[in-house]
């Protein structure tokens, strides 16, 4: 019997297997005792310490850097400036495109944003490097600065025609609609602010480079280093067994990494670069600021006739990042006429990047606020209007949903929240001086599929190991891969070890796009079943096996023991069997790649680029995770202070591999959404484009005291189209829709519609 013959799994504890069980983290003890070693804590002998020097102007060029005083400072070993040729070549991007017009210059003379690295100082100690960096005399030629998306000189940007979506005749239908709501919605720059700052240790041994750097994608980041330095891929190893939060920021190598590794090569000595907390606001990009003009046309009953979206987002002057403001807009509601266009505006910022649910998050803020405005305009309940416009299929792709339990999410969320007791009128619920508002919004995140590779070892002591280069950034990869192997192998969870986070290990995609769990559980299951089949074949056929003469044609592997399916034969432990047949281990490596990628080039491309990714509508279905958030806010009538008092959120993420970990992901996303709604905003000095709140005191993150009671409800069912084991994405969908739910609740409490995040008290008094 193999796993494939076992009864259908429902994804909860009723299955009785390891998958779906509420198990505690495999890596829990290491983390709780301080023994988990993050990248910069790696003990490496002979380290030199590097300090990155950021530009203090927003645009222009470095005229000259006088390094004499810095060089004379104690302990200084190396100073790199735009005067140094680092000899680097461009790296391939995630589309598998490699610029041919090299070299790659991570310390350019031209300044495109405030905080751009202009020098690296390396010394025997961090203090010496810091002091020497202070002694650099940097002369700039300043140019005109465009500090942000809404700056007067930012302009309208350029159209992104490839993102235009249209069906029907949206403009005409909007003009003809009896009810129209039209408004402009804004979201600011937001930052990952992972508790573990970025940085790396780079060590060269001849032409081999080892990089310890926090990573969501070891293989791709290792490839970047190899290409920068013109090395064969196997000469670079990127190691990242534990990652102190990523949220999208740790999927790629950045310029500071290239500079530090170049310094290490030049010095012939390992170099450690800890990017300081303030530098973490400019060394890599956060979420781009966005602006959306959104118009809904509807019947007097609130049935949508047209949606017209005109959006814009910012990027840098040196790179392209598109925060896709129309990512959720066409998916949420049935609408016969639709038009979305987006423009991209280049400003003087570091190139923005992926932050938890990129695109979907600002997109949902606009559409889910607007639908609430429509509900008010036609006198409908916000829940009712969502049912009236329920999308029975993907309105854009015109494909059936694989699974869409949005009705169940709305119903069960409303029931748990007590939504039926809501009074319709704004400002109609209060508790003394506190205005009470109840708001609702929904969210979505696509199912993204890709391929993975894993190695499974059954060891002589009856335990097993799972090995892959995928990473665990806190979402629980260690745990769910052990659960998957335990169930497939019939070996207890406690006897499975998992090794992750090293580009020298089998291939895996980025821990991003909420796809790693679906991809890697599939790969581990495949490898584990193959290992199990090999073990059973040996048990049936090996001359020294006690099962040789039982006449059984298959065997059962459960609780670490092997037995014949019907009854009275021998029962031996896995370890004992391996001992009897004289095997040290069984080792199987499997991948889930299709035939056309089973080449060295195909494999390399699959593990290091996004070109093998399949989007949510690549097959016959449209596949997404869904959620509905119900929020109670309390607003002080006199001071305008806003507190989220309680939340209920219902999720359809397909089958959950570990509800304890999945619920934690949902709650974490929800709380990041509370930050987005009420706290988080990168403030830019309009004179010089500098992010001025570039620290954890001024860039406000949610704390324990900001967090209400949050109840999460699972309404998902296994989705056989979404992944091998039936799960959809979990990590990102939780943040999507939280900000509009809170904004809608604030409107219900106060009668004020706030369309610019974050919602602060000045908007309410």
């Amino acid at each position: 019997m193999t796993l494939l013959d076992t009864p259908r799994k429902h994804g909860d504890a009723s299955d009785g297997g390891a998958i779906g069980a509420r198990l505690s983290r495999l890596d829990g003890k290491l983390k709780i005792t301080g023994a988990a070693t993050y990248a910069l804590e790696q003990p490496v002998d002979g380290l030199a310490y590097a300090v990155l020097v950021p530009a203090t102007i927003g645009a222009g060029r470095v005229a000259r850097i006088d390094v004499a005083a810095a060089k004379a400072a104690p302990g200084v070993r190396l100073i790199l400036t735009p005067d140094d040729d680092l000899g680097l070549q461009p790296a391939t991007d995630w589309n598998n495109v490699r610029a041919s017009d090299g070299p790659y210059v991570p310390l350019p003379r031209d300044i495109a944003y405030n905080g751009q690295p202009v020098a690296l100082v390396v010394a025997d100690s961090l203090e010496q490097a810091t002091e020497a960096a202070r002694r650099l005399a940097i002369a700039y030629e300043e140019g005109p600065v465009t500090p942000g998306l809404d700056s007067p000189n930012a302009g309208e940007g350029s159209p992104l025609d490839q993102l235009s979506v249209a069906w029907g005749d949206a403009e005409a239908a909007l003009a003809a609609a009896p009810v129209r709501v039209e408004a402009e919605y804004h979201t600011p720059r937001e930052y990952h602010a992972a508790m573990e700052p970025h940085g790396l240790i780079a060590r060269w041994e001849g032409d081999r480079l080892t990089v310890w750097e926090p990573s969501q994608w070891t293989h791709s980041m290792a490839r970047s280093y190899a290409e920068w330095f013109g090395l064969p891929p196997e000469n670079v190893r990127l190691v990242s067994p534990f990652v102190g939060g990523g949220f999208g920021s740790k999927g790629f190598s950045y310029g500071f990494g290239a500079i530090a590794a170049a310094a290490a090569r030049r010095l012939g000595r390992p170099v450690k670069l800890a990017v300081t907390r303030p530098q973490n606001f400019a060394a890599y990009g956060g979420r781009a600021a966005t602006r959306q003009s959104l118009a809904l046309g509807a019947t007097e009953d609130g049935v949508l006739q047209a949606i017209v979206l005109r959006g814009a987002s910012e990027t840098s002057t040196v790179g392209t990042w598109v925060e896709q403001v129309g990512a959720a807009t066409p998916l949420m509601y049935a609408v016969p006429n639709f038009s979305a266009r987006q423009r991209l505006v280049a400003v003087n910022t570091v190139t923005p990047g992926a932050l938890r649910a990129p695109g979907k998050t600002p997109s949902a803020f606009a559409i889910e606020s607007a639908i609430d405005e429509l509900a008010c305009a036609v006198g409908a309940d916000p829940l009712e209007i969502r049912l009236r416009n329920y999308a029975e299929e993907d309105p854009q792709a015109r494909k059936p949903w694989s699974t869409r339990r949005m009705r169940e999410a709305l119903a069960e969320g409303a029931e748990a929240f007590g939504w039926a007791r809501r009074s319709r009128e704004p400002r109609s619920m209060r508790d003394g001086h506190q205005l009470i508002g109840w708001g609702l919004a929904t969210g979505t995140f696509p199912v993204i599929r890709n391929y993975g590779e894993a190695l499974v070892r059954i060891l002589a002591d009856g335990s097993a190991e799972v090995v892959t280069g995928a990473t665990d950034i806190g979402q629980g990869t260690y745990t769910i891969l052990a659960q998957t192997a335990a169930e497939a192998l019939g070996i207890p969870f406690e006897r499975i070890d998992v090794r992750l986070g090293d580009s020298a290990l089998p291939g895996a995609p980025v821990a991003g796009g909420s796809k790693l769990a679906g991809v890697m559980t599939g790969a581990v299951q495949k490898a584990a079943i193959a290992a199990r089949d090999e073990l059973i074949a040996l048990a049936l056929n090996d001359p020294n096996s006690p099962f040789r003469d039982t006449g059984a044609n298959t065997l059962i592997l459960a609780d670490g023991r092997i037995s014949a399916p019907r009854g009275d034969g021998p029962v031996v432990s896995v370890g004992e069997l391996l001992g009897r047949i004289g095997r040290e281990r069984i080792e199987v490596r499997r991948d889930t790649l299709p035939d056309h990628l089973q080449t060295p080039e195909g494999r390399f491309r699959a593990w290091t680029t996004m070109t093998t990714v399949q989007g949510p509508t690549a097959g016959d279905y449209s596949m997404h995770s869904w959620c509905a958030h119900f929020v109670e806010v309390r607003v002080d009538e006199d001071f305008g202070t806003i507190r989220v008092a309680r939340m209920v959120s219902a999720f359809d993420c397909g089958r959950l591999y570990n509800p304890k970990l999945a619920e934690s992901q949902w709650k974490g996303g929800i709380i990041m959404g509370i930050g987005m709604a009420l706290l988080e905003e990168g403030l830019v000095d309009s004179r010089n484009g500098r992010v001025i709140n570039n620290n954890l005191g001024d860039y406000l993150l949610p704390t324990n005291a900001d967090v209400p009671d949050i109840r999460v409800i699972d309404v998902g069912i296994p989705d056989p189209h979404a992944s091998a084991l039936g799960g959809k994405g979990v990590g990102e969908v939780g943040i999507v829709g939280v900000a509009p739910a809170i904004a809608n609740a604030v409107f219900h409490a106060t009668g004020r519609r706030v369309r610019r995040l974050p919602i602060t008290l000045d908007a309410l008094v």
Binding site: E196, R277, G474, E663, G668
Partner: protein, 163 residues
């Protein structure tokens, strides 16, 4: 000019000494001289709590606390909580409640919760939320951290009743 000096202190119950520079912070000394990496610098401003350790029984931000001030003191870190394989009840409660994801901030939270339960053995939800506001968790395992504190508190009370 500053010059090295030797400090002696009790680290997780063991007498130790280190020759350090006066500007070195306690978290640096713990990380680099004693290979104790649970207390970590994240914000560098004493705002996030990732570097929380106890000095003479009181939590301090190790990224701001100069190591020279630990001279003669008792310093306790997350690494000193477990007794062999037996975790501290707060550590056990954190694992059971699922009170962390990436784990980077977790040792700081655990040390702060030790102090919280010393001062408020049976804290209310609001007491927990406000007491722990100086510790940031960007994964935002805050609800589970609250659960963990309540769990540890209940077990502590149960143990006290039995004793």
């Amino acid at each position: 000019m500053s010059s090295p000096r030797t400090i002696r202190f009790t680290l997780n119950g063991e007498p130790v000494s280190a020759t350090i520079m006066p500007h070195e912070t306690l978290v640096d000394v713990l990380q680099h001289r004693f290979d104790l990496r649970g207390a970590r610098e994240s914000c560098g401003q004493g705002l996030c709590g990732c570097c929380t350790v106890h000095v003479d029984g009181k939590p301090v931000s190790g990224c701001l606390f100069l190591a020279v001030f630990a001279d003669g003191a008792r310093v306790d870190t997350v690494e000193g909580l477990a007794r062999g394989d037996a975790l501290d009840p707060v550590q056990e409660a954190f694992i059971e409640a699922g009170a962390f994801q990436c784990g980077f901030c977790t040792p700081g939270f655990v040390m702060m919760v030790k102090q919280l339960l010393k001062e408020h053995p049976e804290p209310t939800d609001e007491e927990v939320r406000h007491y722990l506001t100086g510790n940031l968790c960007r994964c935002s395992a805050y609800p589970e951290i609250l659960d963990a504190v309540k769990l540890a508190s209940a077990r502590q009370a149960e143990a006290a009743r039995r004793a």
